[in-house]
């Protein structure tokens, strides 16, 4: 679905944010895009949506070049930005004006999502809280039935019940022909939701692996003492939460936050494991 080859991008010509970035993303997956503030998560998503232009390299989304912003591709992209603007109209008017651009827009599904997110229907968009607006654009985006769903910090501004609803809805929204990319720095919000982790750090992709591959190759467990096999550890109440190579094929649950910190701190130790 998405092919990136030797992509070079920077907001200034002298300082590149991505250097020779290459990656392929396929449908039927929920990708979690993680990285520090300023690592380039949002910029990578904007490149995919054609909102910024790369200096060099090729980028293909569903066979189109997103930089051309062709309607045939835009109909298949649902982009939920971190900051957004909604006009001062009621939901009905907003849907009437925008839904017609998406040939697969599902009004019944949209109504179901509004009910699930507990969004009052008759209210003007401008009078809604930030969280309600965010849930509305998520509901609208999913109802477009777009093949590529890009979400930049979607859980920002959502309360705790809404985050749980969000995870539930996103899990059910995944179909075989859809690709969902969710960027966040709140890694715990993506627990049990994503099936592939992409980590951006220092101009490139520091890690891209499925949850299964990660738990096959790494073991996340609590240890009492440090030893040489441990790649990265953080002190906890009863010892350390550690990441170590999974020599004995143990079953362990992926700790996204621990993995995130491990990649940032011990990139060189992790790279050979995933290459």
């Amino acid at each position: 679905m998405i092919k990136i080859n030797d992509l070079n991008f920077g907001y200034s010509k002298h300082k590149l944010l991505f250097k020779n970035l290459s990656m392929q993303l396929s449908n039927g997956h929920i990708y979690g895009l993680l990285g520090k503030n300023g690592a380039g998560k949002s910029t990578l998503l904007k490149n995919l949506a054609g909102l910024v232009y790369a200096q060099s390299g090729t980028l293909e989304v569903l066979g189109y070049n997103p930089a051309k912003r062709q309607p045939a591709l835009l109909q298949q992209i649902c982009f939920i930005p971190e900051e957004f603007y909604l006009p001062s109209v009621k939901i009905d008017a907003y849907v009437k004006a925008n839904a017609a651009f998406y040939p697969n827009f599902d009004h019944a599904y949209f109504a179901t999502l509004l009910a699930e997110f507990d969004i009052p229907v008759g209210q003007k968009l401008i009078n809604m809280s930030y969280g309600q607006k965010k849930k509305l654009i998520i509901a609208f985006g999913l109802a477009t039935n777009a093949k590529l769903i890009i979400m930049d910090e979607p859980t920002n501004g959502l309360d705790i019940p809404s985050k749980a609803q969000f995870r539930k809805i996103m899990a059910s929204a995944l179909t075989e022909d859809r690709c969902i990319i969710i960027s966040t720095h709140q890694v715990r919000d993506l627990d049990n939701l994503i099936d592939t982790v992409i980590m951006v750090d220092e101009n490139s992709i520091a890690l891209k692996a499925s949850v299964e591959e990660i738990t096959n190759k790494l073991c996340f467990k609590r240890v009492k003492e440090m030893d040489d096999t441990i790649i990265y550890a953080e002190p906890s109440m009863a010892g350390y939460n550690a990441v170590m190579p999974n020599f004995h094929q143990e079953d362990s649950k992926l700790d996204l936050e621990l993995l995130f910190n491990a990649v940032l701190a011990e990139k060189n130790k992790l790279k050979p494991i995933f290459n």
């Binding site: 309607p71 835009l74 930005p81 603007y85």
Partner: protein, 270 residues
């Protein structure tokens, strides 16, 4: 699917843009109507209540009002159309609407050039019609027999009857397109203070352009005198040729500015 232009998609885009842009548009139109009514009311109040006698100069305020306010109205509208693209949250939603860049650009032209000019002409015409009709009913005796014939003519003339372009009509038609094209470009070129920045840019550009032309003309023609001699080539209608020349020049400049605006829209990044 045609990724450049589709009439149905263009119609949807116009509807959607009206939802976003319509409120600003109607407010500006309301303000414009209010100001025109205020000017008419202030200038003609004494006449309408019979306090003053009618004089031919009483309606002279209309021409500067039409030109200055008309200019302000169409430039303010044009200057605000793409202005939101300078704001990240609005730009993302707008750029990702599934319509082509060409359709988005055409929608911009429709709202800023055609609709704004027609709307201004219409409100000016309506307000003038109302006030002048009232004035005519107050001063029905202001009919006189003109010096040549016997046909009576009213001195109280509707604005568009009095100012109907008798010549250079095509230039009157193209000028609003040219003016709005400049301010539409300004609205996408600058991220903030679009109107002021565009005005300053136009002043600087016109200044430089004027300076170059004056100096070039001086360099070419200084110390020379024009010699008129009989030529075998005669121009039948010099006014018509001048009109065609000026029209083509303005049209070309407008087309260039539109092309630049389209390119800016195409390359707009967030």
């Amino acid at each position: 699917m045609n990724n450049t232009f589709n009439i149905q998609r263009f119609g949807l885009l116009l509807k959607r843009q009206w939802l976003e842009f319509g409120k600003i548009y109607l407010i500006t139109l309301g303000v414009a109507a209010g100001v025109i009514i205020a000017f008419y009311g202030f200038s003609l109040y004494g006449l309408l209540i019979g306090e003053r006698d009618f004089s031919a100069r009483a309606l002279n305020f209309r021409e500067p009002l039409f030109l200055i306010f008309g200019f302000l109205f169409i430039t303010v509208i044009a200057s605000s159309y793409f202005a939101h693209l300078g704001q990240k949250p609005k730009a993302i939603i707008d750029l990702l609407i599934p319509a082509s860049t060409f359709e988005k650009f055409l929608a911009g032209l429709f709202f800023t050039t055609i609709l704004s000019s027609v709307a201004f002409l219409l409100i000016f015409f309506s307000i003038d019609l109302a006030f002048v009709s009232k004035l005519r009913s107050v001063f029905p005796d202001w009919n006189f027999t003109n010096m040549i014939g016997t046909k009576p003519e009213s001195m109280i003339i509707y604005f568009f009857n009095e100012n109907k372009p008798k010549e250079f009509t095509s230039i009157y038609l193209i000028v609003p397109f040219f003016i709005t094209s400049i301010f539409l470009l300004g609205s996408i070129y600058f991220n903030k203070y679009h109107y002021i920045k565009t005005t300053i840019a136009v002043m600087i550009f016109s200044g430089i352009w004027g300076y170059i032309i004056v100096n070039t003309a001086e360099l070419v023609f200084k110390g020379r005198v024009a010699i008129y001699r009989n030529s075998s080539i005669e121009v039948d209608n010099p006014k018509l040729w001048a009109e065609i020349g000026i029209f083509c020049l303005i049209l070309l400049l407008t087309a260039i500015i539109w092309r630049i605006t389209y390119q800016r829209l195409k390359e707009k990044e967030v």
